[in-house]
């Protein structure tokens, strides 16, 4: 029996296609990507805002990383006892610079390395349900 899973927040990501995707939008006039979804294009150089749903991922490059060494304040969520986790900023090949966590089992952290979007647990509900968010994994 597979573990029950619930997204940390609805509407931000999906793996329905079998591949992890971030759900955002893109302006067809100026090509600016947005995550999360945006109703309007905020590019001051863009005269005609034409924003449509788009999705992003999975491939990208690690721009930077850090390790969260202490329990973050609310509204962050984590399992007790707190285990440090790695944070990262990734430049996705489709033009989005996005923040996220590195997957817990990933030890290889090097700026400039190739990574890939994944969905994984950031914590668990009391009944053991995995709370899922987006994260990155070295490739």
């Amino acid at each position: 029996m597979s573990t029950a899973r619930v997204p940390v927040m609805e509407g931000l990501f999906s793996d329905e296609s079998g591949e992890a995707r971030l759900l955002g939008s893109r302006c067809s006039t100026c090509n600016t990507p947005y995550f999360p979804r945006s109703d309007r294009c905020h590019n001051p150089e863009c005269d005609v805002s034409q924003v449509q749903d788009d999705s992003f991922g999975p491939r990208g490059t690690l721009w930077s990383y850090s390790v969260q060494n202490y329990p973050p304040p609310p509204p962050a969520r984590y399992d007790e006892p707190f285990e440090p986790y790695a944070l990262c900023v990734v430049d996705l090949d489709d033009g989005l610079r996005v923040v996220g966590r590195m997957a817990a089992d990933d030890a290889g952290l090097e700026v400039g390395s190739k990574v890939e979007l994944a969905l994984g647990p950031i914590c668990h509900e009391d009944d053991g349900t995995e709370v899922i968010s987006w994260m990155f994994r070295s490739v």
């Binding site: 927040m9 931000l12 990507p33 001051p44 973050p72 304040p73 969520r77 610079r97 923040v99």
Partner: protein, 382 residues
Amino acid sequence: MHTWGKFADKSVTDLCRVAVNRALGDAGIGWRDVDAVAAASSRFSGGKGWGLNGNDVVEDMGSTGIPVYNMSAGCAAGGNAFNVGYSLVAGGMHDVVLVVGGEKMPKGFIQTSGVDEDSDPEFLRQRCVGMPGPSFWALLCRQRMAEMGTTEEQLAKVAVKAHEVGRHNENARFRQQFSVEEVLASNLVSDPLHLYEICPVSDGAAAAVICSAEKARQLGGTMPWVAGSAVATARFDDGLPRGLAGTVPAGKAHHSEAAIAVAGALEQAGASPGDLDLVELQDNTVYYELAFPEEWGLCEPGESERLLEAGETLPTGKMPLNPSGGFLCFGEATTAMGVFQVCELTWQLRQEAGPRQVPGATLALAQTLGLGGNASALVLKR
């Protein structure tokens, strides 16, 4: 200025009263001479925030009926209030404006999200990823280390330098001297940043009097002139990882709001970065003392570490940074910081800064940065 620290028994109004009376005394005027107050208020976003409401200061000092302008811009509010005060005087609206900032901070690192809403990018960032404030600085810092080869020892040396000068400042909260080893042995808060490489929160208050040229001549004394004052917000495409995501920028990621404000203040002053004798910049973390001078053209990209190690960022160096000891020695009392910088610049330009004096300083820059992509900068000259 009231000293920085933790003052359990004092209210923010108590702290401000001390700062305001010192500023009025320094200017040689009384409370009834003040035409308006520009206050750096932390009560932003519908009541969110901590201490200061400028109206409380006016009520405390005596309700003379003068206008109060409460400015909110996160930690840049002090600089914004100065800009508004300056504009009111320069525009001929008022002759004497009091600028005040004061804060009693809650414990712990500043919470960047107070709104429980799916639509707030800060909320999403905390809930979905778990990235509290210091991790933002850590990510920028790690990126610099990869790009410029900055070492952990060099980061620690920025903190060592801050305390080397800040220990001489009687208004600073943290006046002990640290070694590189002690900085690196302090808790790793957010890799690669250690506890002593990040500024904590403090209580404090600062005030300054801005007056017209005519009024200044009447009062006499040595007063610095405002050569430039600017505020700015962040550009859309500066590439900093704010919120959940942005666009991969064409150039190097940088704090565009700070660069725009600094360039604006320098332009008004008719000065170039190389003309500055000293700079007070917002060093929430050691990273900023390396990145900002390069982003503003004070030195070449990649040159900051060498200047630091050569002692050029000390008051006696070629590019003195934060001779006050900066945020690292004071701790951040959010809205008071922009006004505290005005005090330091004033003392430096009057050659009254004692052991931390930049010899012969005649032109000085101060800069703050606030949540939400706010920044301010000002240039004072003797």
